[in-house]
């Protein structure tokens, strides 16, 4: 190869650029997110959300999808969880009733994972907040 030096130099630069996030952040891992529950959330329902906490951590969006499909498309607004408890299916009025601290709760994990849900464009963040 007549261009051996150029090619090797190019490959080295390429690997360095592609691996930038890894070597630049070595040893500087951001701390795991810690969402805070409000006092109301801790007290409500013996400290459990509408579904078990593990389910909510991994699948809350799936639950919200089910809720919005049922409410909007089927006209059904009552959710009965596996323990037989009934809830009104509303993001603003049920979820945010307990979790009224979006910045210390929802945003903690969302910001860490760089997730920007557009729910808040329409759904009011804190219905109970007095202005």
């Amino acid at each position: 190869m007549s261009n051996k030096n150029l090619i090797i130099a190019g490959v080295v630069i390429f690997v360095a650029v592609v691996a930038f996030p890894f070597w630049f952040n070595m040893g500087k891992a951001a701390p795991a997110p810690e969402p805070e529950l409000t006092a109301r959330a801790k007290a409500a329902n013996h400290g459990q959300c509408v579904m078990p906490t593990d389910f909510m951590k991994s699948d809350h969006m799936k639950l919200l999808d089910l809720w919005r499909h049922s409410v909007v498309r089927n006209g059904e607004r009552t959710f009965v969880n596996s323990s037989g408890q009934e809830f009104n299916m509303s993001l603003s009025n049920t979820c945010l009733d307990c979790h009224s601290n979006k910045k210390e709760f929802c945003d903690r994990c969302h910001d860490y994972a760089s997730v920007r849900p557009y729910c808040w464009d329409c759904h009011i963040e804190n219905p109970k907040e007095t202005e």
Binding site: M51, K62, S70, R73, N74, G75, T78, N81, S82, H123
Partner: protein
């Protein structure tokens, strides 16, 4: 060399097709959403009002002027976070008033009853039984709900193509040309606002019907507007339709509107 490279590419293509078919079909299948939650159910609330087809009868004889209609329109605007725009291009209205010859263009005539000529009429989405807007929607973001006949908007799904607005023969639909939040005077926290880029219209107060309340406009009308099940022969609306002459907007189009007017 040529031949085996071609064979490799063919094999790779078929494999890619095979590997991606199942996830794609899964995506198509997940209409319901949230199948992973076990042991749960969804149902209507105890106080929810039920009907096969919600309908409205507006007794225009109870109104004398635009002032009578204002509280009715205000009631809807307030609880649904309707924004007020200066620029008429962007205006959003779910229920508003029109003169007879605008609301009923096919019925207007040169020599009319004086009262009818100057009386403003309430116009809103007619929640047609045969809605052209639902036929037009490419994503079923607007659809006729099977449970109660309300023509609903699914704001999550709407792509903002505005085909439904072109299809509506009554001009009942509005589009969010910009973010409405800065233009909402007083926010009702219990109801979402909408975002830019989606279409909206009257929803027959589905959220109030679900908890046993009448639509806001009906409540604010002091009895001038009746609301009930068109297919329940004993409902108030059927009683009124049996005993009064009523008209509907653009009846000849076959849309079967569910809003009747006693003139």
């Amino acid at each position: 060399m040529e031949d085996s490279r071609r064979r490799f590419l063919k094999l790779a293509g078929v494999s890619a097709l095979g590997l991606t078919t199942r996830p794609v079909l899964n995506a198509f299948a997940s209409e319901g959403g949230g199948e992973d939650a076990h042991g749960v159910e969804v149902k209507k609330g105890d106080k929810a009002l039920i009907a096969k087809q919600w309908a409205m009868v507006i007794d225009t004889r109870e109104f004398e002027s635009a002032e009578d209609l204002e509280p009715i329109i205000e009631a809807c605007d307030k609880i649904h976070n309707i924004p007020k725009f200066e620029n008429k291009n962007h205006e959003i209205k779910w229920i508003w008033e029109e003169h007879f010859h605008n609301a009923f263009p096919g019925l207007a005539q040169r020599f009319t009853d004086e009262r009818i000529e100057q009386l403003p009429f309430l116009v809103l989405c007619n929640h047609c039984e045969n809605p052209p807007c639902c036929r037009a929607c490419p994503t079923k973001a607007t659809f006729k709900r099977e449970s109660d006949g309300i023509v609903m908007m699914d704001f999550h799904r709407c792509i903002g193509c505005r085909f439904c607005m072109a299809a509506c023969p009554y001009g009942s639909r509005s589009f969010n040309f910009r973010d409405p939040r800065p233009f909402i005077e007083v926010t009702n926290k219990e109801f979402p606002t909408r975002t830019k880029g989606v279409v909206e219209k009257c929803n027959f107060c589905a959220e109030r019907l679900a908890v046993g309340k009448m639509p806001a406009c009906v409540e604010a009308s002091n009895g001038a507007i009746a609301f009930g099940d068109l297919y329940d022969p004993h409902s108030e609306v059927r009683e009124l339709l049996r005993t009064n002459y009523t008209i509907r907007r653009k009846q000849s189009l076959g849309t079967e509107p569910s809003v009747y007017y006693i003139v």
